[in-house]
Amino acid sequence: MATISLEGVTKAFKGKVAVDNIDLDAADGQFLIIVGPSGCGKTTTLRMLAGFEKPSRGVVRIGGRAVNDVPPKDRNVAMVFQNYALLPHLTVAKNLAFGMRIRHEPRKTIEREVTAIAEMLGIGSLLDRKPAELSGGERQRVALGRALLRKPNAFLLDEPLSNLDAALRAQMRFELKRIHAQFGVTTVYVTHDQVEAMTMADRIALMNHGHLQQVAPPETLYSEPSNSFVASFIGSPKINLVEAQVLRDTETTVISALSCKIPVNGDLGSTLRRMDGDSVVIGLRPEEIRPCAAGTDGLPVFQGLVELVEPLGSETHVAIRVGEQTLTCRFPPRSGLEAGATVNLQFDPQQMKVFDAESGTRLG
C-alpha cells in the first residue's frame, strides 16, 4: 500500500511559515499534482514527503506509516529533481544502476533491468555516455529511469519539465502519463504550470502562500473553484474578475455589474441578502462571454469597445473594454471584429461565479 498523507503539516523557517497546516492525501496509484505560484510552499511540501525537511508540526504518512523520523534513504520513495541530480562522474548505465548496486542486487538482474528501462525510455544508445554529454531531455529520461528502477512506494517529481523547451515538454507530459498508467505508482508532482496540472493530474492541490486553496480533480477546479485565486490561477486565458454591487432594495436580490442587472435567486440570493457590505466580485471565463445581436433571449447584455484582437487560428482572443475594466474573451475563429468596433456581449448568469470581494471565497 502506498497511500500518501499529510496531516496538519506545517513547516516554518526562521521568520517565515512556508507551509501552513495542510491536510493532503493521495490514494494508492493516484497522480496528485501540487501546483501554485513560486514561493507557495509546494517544493517544501514535496521535500517533506521525501524526508529532506522535517515538518515543524503534523504527521507525514507513507503507506499509512508515520515517517516523520524516517530518513530519506529508508522511505523507499523516488524523486526526480528539477535539475535531474545525475551523478556527474558516472555513466548513464551506472547512474541507473546506482541504487540497485547499493542494495546489492545481483549483477545479472541489474544489467537486465537497466537495459530494459533504457529501451523503454528510448535512451538505450546512451548507456555509456556521461551526463555532461546528454541533452536536457535525455538527462530527464535518465532521471526518470533511475526513479523507476527504484520500484518505489511513491514517485515525487519536482518541476521536472521546467528546464525543457515547449515541444519537449508536451512530449514528456504524454510520456509521464503513459508511464504512470503503465506502472501505477502513487505520484506527487510539483509544478507552477497550470497547463501541466490540468492535463496530467488525477487530482490537483492548489497552494498559495503556504495554504491549500483547493484540492479536487481538474474539471472541478475549473468549473467549481472555491475562491477567486483558484478561479484565476486555473484556466488560460484567465477568468475575468469584475467588480459588482449587490442591490437589496427590491424583493429579489440583484447584482449590478457591467451595466447589467442580474437577478439572483435561491441559496445565492439569501447569502447575498445576509452579507455585510455591497461589493462582490463576479467571475466570467473568457469562453462564457459571447457576442450577440441587440435584443436577446433574456440573457444580460452589455456593450464594449474592442481594444485588441489576437487570432490564434482555432480561436480568437479579444480584449474588450467595458467601462473601467478590460475583459478577455474567447471567440470562434472568424469573428469579424476589429479594434475600435463596438460590440454587444452576453453571458449566462448560471455560469457566472460570485466571490466575496474581501476574502475571495466563492459565494455561489
Binding site: A50, G51, F52, P71, P72, K73, D74, R75, N76, V77, A78, M79, F81, N83, A85, L86, L87, P88, H89, L90, F98, G99, I102, R103, A132, R146, R150
Partner: protein, 308 residues
C-alpha cells in the same frame, strides 16, 4: 586565452587592431617581472644545471677555479648511500605527513565542519589556520620543546625522560609538519565540498545510500580533481621544505631526518661541496617533476574537459 588562429577572420582583424592599440607602452610593464624571473629564476636554473656537474666548492682553491667534471658528481650521487636514504626519507616525509595525514585530517575537518555547529566550526577552523600562519621556525621550536625530555609529547606518550627526537625523529617531524600544514587541505577541500551539488547527494540518499556510501561513491569521486590538485600542491610544498626539519634536528640524528633539501644544505654549506650540493638539488627537482607528472596525468580527463 585560446589561440588567435582559431577565431574567425573578422575577430582576427579586430585583434590586430587591438594589438597595435595595446602595444603602446604596456609591453614595457612586463620588463621588471621578466628581469626578476629571468635573473633570479631562469638563469639560476640554467646555472644550476651546469654547476651540478662541476667540482665547485665553498672555500678553498676550487671556490675560485672550478672545473666541469662531467658525470663525476652524478656517479658519486648514485653511489652515495646517504643520498638514497635521503630520497627514501623525503618520500616517507611527503607521503606520510603530507599526502596521507594532511589530506585525511583536512578532509575530516572539512566534512565535520559541514555538519558541526557554526561556532565550533569557526573557532576550530581559526585554530587550525593559526597553526599554519605561525612562522615555521616557531613551529619547529614548539615541537622541539614538546619532544624533549619532560616535554608535553614525551610525557603524554609515557616516555617522560626520552628525547623523542633521538628515538623517533622522523615520526616527530612528520607530526609537526602535519600540525602545521593541515589548514591548507582543510581550506581547499572545504571549498571542493561546497561544489558538490546537494541534489546529487540527496538523490543518493533516496536510493538508500548511507552516509559512508555516499561519501565514497558520490562525494569523493566528484571531488577527485580537487583532491588531486590538493595533493599535488602539498607534495610540491613539502618536498622542498627546509626550515622545519633543519631547525628541529639539522637532519639528524645521523642522517635520519635528512630530507633532500636538508641534505643539500649540509653537503653544500657544511661540507663545502657546492657542486655536489647542486647535483642533489637537481635530483630533488627531477623527483618533484616526476611526481607532478603523475598528478597531472590523474587530472588529464578533467583538464581536457575544461578546455573544451
Amino acid at each position: 586565452m585560446t589561440a588567435v588562429a582559431e577565431r574567425p577572420a573578422a575577430e582576427a582583424a579586430a585583434q590586430v587592431a587591438d594589438k597595435q592599440r595595446l602595444k603602446a607602452g604596456t609591453i614595457g610593464w612586463l620588463l621588471p617581472a621578466w628581469a626578476l624571473v629571468t635573473g633570479l629564476f631562469l638563469v639560476p636554473i640554467g646555472y644550476a644545471i651546469y654547476l651540478g656537474f662541476t667540482n665547485l666548492e665553498l672555500l678553498g682553491p676550487t671556490a675560485q677555479h672550478y672545473n666541469f667534471t662531467g658525470l663525476a658528481n652524478l656517479d658519486r650521487m648514485v653511489h652515495d648511500p646517504v643520498f638514497w636514504s635521503s630520497v627514501k626519507i623525503t618520500l616517507i616525509f611527503v607521503v606520510l605527513s603530507g599526502i596521507i595525514a594532511q589530506t585525511v585530517l583536512g578532509l575530516a575537518l572539512a566534512l565535520l565542519g559541514q555538519r558541526a555547529h557554526v561556532t565550533v566550526r569557526a573557532s576550530v577552523g581559526s585554530v587550525v589556520v593559526l597553526a599554519w600562519v605561525l612562522p615555521e621556525i616557531c613551529v619547529a621550536f614548539i615541537w622541539y620543546a614538546f619532544s624533549q625530555s619532560g616535554g608535553v609529547l614525551s610525557t603524554a606518550t609515557g616516555h617522560p625522560n626520552d628525547d623523542l627526537l633521538s628515538t623517533v625523529p622522523l615520526l616527530i617531524v612528520c607530526v609537526a609538519n602535519t600540525w602545521r600544514g593541515t589548514a591548507f587541505s582543510m581550506l581547499v577541500l572545504s571549498a571542493g565540498l561546497r561544489n558538490v551539488p546537494q541534489e546529487a547527494d540527496e538523490a543518493a540518499q533516496l536510493e538508500g545510500a548511507s552516509y559512508w556510501k555516499r561519501l565514497i561513491r558520490v562525494t569523493l569521486p566528484i571531488m577527485r580533481p580537487t583532491l588531486m590538485i590538493n595533493m599535488l600542491l602539498i607534495t610540491l610544498g613539502t618536498i622542498s621544505d627546509f626550515t622545519l626539519i633543519f631547525a628541529m634536528t639539522q637532519g639528524g640524528p645521523g642522517n635520519q631526518t635528512a630530507i633532500l633539501p636538508v641534505y643539500m644544505y649540509i653537503e653544500a654549506f657544511q661540507f663545502n661541496a657546492l657542486g655536489y650540493g647542486t647535483t642533489i638539488a637537481l635530483g630533488l627537482m627531477v623527483i618533484g617533476a616526476v611526481l607532478s607528472i603523475f598528478y597531472i596525468r590523474q587530472l588529464r580527463p578533467e583538464l581536457r574537459r575544461a578546455s573544451n
